[in-house]
Symmetry: C2
Subunit: 521 residues, 2 copies
């Protein structure tokens, strides 16, 4: 094992390392079993006397900003992913680090995208030691093959806030791309030529990093309003020609599905919500940005119109579909963590009912409550579920680490969590005996909806009762699995794994819920 | 001396205690001489598992909320003053504490008002040990007479944030009156039957208190938007019939002056700003809520219209006069810390250009910059100034402690700080050899404007040059003082003081700039 790790079994029966990238790790203890006792990360007291009195924090370029921020070997650099696959900053940052001869950096993004493929050379050449954050595309591939020096640490959006807040990870320098900002460092994502909506994923970075750099291509006279990021938390401001490509915010995951099976699953999901009585005036829901989830929202919308029902709030990731619901008066509010298209960006800028949020408000488990548990229903994806309703969202059934967690784990605390998933992907059944990687504990997952039927978690007798007198195709999960396996001719061959850990999955409370091992070739 | 204090001389030549209410005190070292080295106050890590999953944090009444919050002897309870003289909560809180037999509380309000006179009985009966905060009216009188057990600790708005942030004072329970809130604890001041504008003075309390209680008379379904206070920082929510009397927000200090002398001073001040070239497109200003400052704003407005000048921002305390300027397009923004009348409240609710702020954004000296130093000109009051431009704002020339500091100290870092003050009050000259209480160091005070002439601080040769070719009545401060003294027949008799300290004045960095001693009867 490349890191000489010691493994112990956690409460979910998964082998997890006792140490992750040199930091002592706590094994998962079960949902709501780990009670934090310590204090939040300490932040040094600053003095206005050390900052320009006229509020002008501009430095000529990114390189000077990084030098002024004290960039040196071994530091942790962070960034947000509101530009998704359109980020133009972080490749430059690591090129500059390479030019300056810096080594062993940790990159702590809120997510990485295929556009970050050039960073692989900096993993190879030692500028970056490892990445702590959601990896997908080429970087996920790279780590899956065991090429990264450190462990990939997969955290939910709420888990990322928790990890910084609780001092599990210390950010030395935060680099915050901002579509509009002033020279003092106030910044917003909702306007400017590169508008990307909001900057909520960079908020914790601005609060806890030793040094924070705003990078913008639209500098406005003070004050930049709204100030989604506050200048009082910022050290330096850099102007660049272009910080991001907003047209690349729209990724492949944010189109509605055209597959007849998936449309049927989406419709079944909407019917489940309607027929069990979850759909009522003043209700709330969240649906991810995957094609099935989007289609669910469209079916649900028709039902809301038919039954003259208005939601109190919808949680985004916002898309044009949610924006239409807001504009048509079908919801009072969108509480939005991430705009997934340019309609979302426009609406957030123009509509007071479209409220930007952050992982602090929405997802952080180590706060005095959060929004996720207040939702009446949440509709999420998964790569696998098992007969105990445990689910996987980060590895494919071939064992490769190819997806980030996003807000997925955080959303599981909703009043009703539904996973609408196809019975098969590439002729591989999705319901398995044991998920390859445990990301969400089964006790929090209430309903599995496939084109072959609906399974309700036996822990939710209330939902089972509500569904009893409907025409919904309710089955036990075992029956559902057996039917699917029979169609395919038995469960598929499982991948075999080496004993080399390539990453860990953190639970929302900072404990380690599972390990991702390298697949045997 | 009732507290057995040891005094040392600080850098301003003032005798200050080495300890304040049992906490070691740092003597004032001069402007921007004290560099903080430590960390911000530690906040315990919470878990959502300890808060209601449905977000309903309501408890039946204030008494139960205080009991649940663990109210006990010696605790520090805090509150904000956005209702100014219309607060209806804190008298109830201390009555409940008395009923529960609690003793030795510290009350840490952002300011106290005459409506809090009933609290005197709880100072007498030992329920409250002392008040740390601006005292005026009956409470100021009470403390001035040496009746309070602890020292009054006078802090600026920014100093209050700094003290909490830096851990100089720990809030056990924050009681936050909110005109609108939801059951999760999200709260806003800008709407509801008791709308008071914003809740910025309660923000630091919500962030750092062990337990925070929202008290509201307008509970709305989740989400309450805007969330000036975030539910993620709140423990309990209490509904009451009425939390405050917004009509009492308008206090005596927020009317324009009718005195011909003061109108002349206000006009001179506006002329100074115009004729020295400070008045230019895109400029910014802040004027307090006193009669002269308001009249200054009205004169300035006429000059802006005449010269076709638009401000980029005006800092409030907002009044109908500032709101008119925003609505008439004379400024892009009002950055507002406190609404002083109901036009201010309405405008903040309705106008995107009317932005709520907090002492964190505006005043906190221990941050990465703040707004105060970015202002082109600030117009403030004073009870006394001396020939070195040192000024007093908390004691009258009779030595009695009767005013709070407000944002006054924080504003002194502006690019040009002007004190327009009458030459006399009750036949007592305002320019003295040595201010009774030092609240603002002379090096930060640039211009004194009286009806007998204008004195510019010799440190500001740039302003002296700019004023040279104007028809403004510029004089040295010594000449101005001599003229005033001659009119009155010499300087007045000074009050004599006992050696009993009744309070201290903190500078914006947490050091002690002066002591208030009890006046000899």
């Amino acid at each position: 094992m490349k890191q000489n790790l010691t493994f112990i079994e956690n409460a979910a029966g998964r082998m997890v390392p006792t140490e992750v990238n040199g930091v002592k790790a706590v094994p998962f203890k079960g949902y709501n079993k780990h009670k934090p006792t310590g204090y939040k990360a300490q932040q040094p007291i600053r003095s206005c006397g050390d900052y320009p009195a006229d509020g002008n924090k501009r430095v000529p370029n990114l390189k000077e900003a990084l030098i002024k921020a004290g960039l040196k070997d071994g530091m942790t650099l962070s960034s947000h992913h509101h530009f998704r696959n359109g980020d133009l900053i972080m490749n430059q940052v690591f090129d500059i680090a390479a030019e300056l001869g810096i080594k062993d950096l940790v990159w702590f993004p809120s997510a990485a995208f295929p556009c970050h493929e050039p960073i692989i050379k900096h993993l190879d050449n030692g500028v970056i030691h490892h990445i702590e954050g959601s990896l997908n595309g080429p970087l996920g591939d790279y780590a899956s093959e065991g090429k990264m020096k450190g462990l990939a640490v997969l955290r939910s959006h709420g888990g990322r806030w928790q990890a910084v807040q609780d001092g599990e990870i210390h950010i030395d320098i935060a680099i915050i791309a901002a579509p509009t900002a002033d020279a003092f460092g106030n910044a917003t994502g909702d306007r400017g030529p590169s508008a990307c909506g909001l900057l909520g994923f960079g908020l914790v970075d601005s609060l806890y990093a030793d040094k924070s750099i705003i990078v913008t291509d639209n500098l406005v006279p003070f004050p930049c309003i709204p100030w989604q990021i506050m200048g009082q938390n910022i050290d330096y401001v850099v102007e660049l020609d272009k910080v991001g490509l907003p047209e690349r915010i729209v990724s492949g995951t944010t189109n509605i599905t055209k597959s007849p099976d998936r449309l049927y699953i989406a419709e079944l999901t909407a019917r489940f919500v309607r027929d069990t009585g979850i759909l009522r005036d003043g209700f709330s829901f969240q649906a991810g940005a995957g094609g099935t989830a989007l289609s669910f929202a469209i079916f649900l919308k028709e039902m809301m119109i038919e039954k003259k029902i208005k939601a109190r709030f919808i949680r985004g990731g916002s898309t044009k579909y949610l924006v239409e619901m807001l504009e048509e008066g079908l919801t009072d509010y969108i509480l939005d963590g991430q705009t997934f298209d340019l309609d979302g960006v426009r609406s957030m800028r123009e509509n007071e009912g479209h409220q930007d949020t952050s992982p602090f408000t929405s997802y952080n488990w180590h706060g005095k409550g959060n929004f996720a548990s207040m939702l009446d229903v949440v509709v999420l994806g998964a790569t696998e579920v098992d007969v105990n309703f445990n689910a996987n969202v980060v590895t494919h059934s071939d064992g490769r680490m190819l997806h980030g967690i996003g807000g997925w784990q955080n959303c599981l605390t909703s009043k009703c969590t539904i996973l609408p998933i196809p019975a098969f992907r590439d002729r591989i059944p999705i319901i398995v005996d044991r998920v390859t990687t445990l990301v969400g504990p089964g006790e929090l997952i209430d309903v599995i909806i496939t084109e072959r039927g609906i399974a309700i978690n036996p822990l939710r007798q209330d939902l089972i009762n509500l569904a009893k007198d409907t025409d919904l195709p309710i089955k036990t999960i075992h029956k559902l699995k057996a039917e699917i396996d029979e169609l395919i001719g038995g469960p598929p061959e499982k991948p075999t794994f080496t004993d080399e850990a390539i990453g860990v999955v953190k639970w929302v409370d900072g404990t380690v819920i599972d390990t991702i091992f390298r697949v045997k070739k």
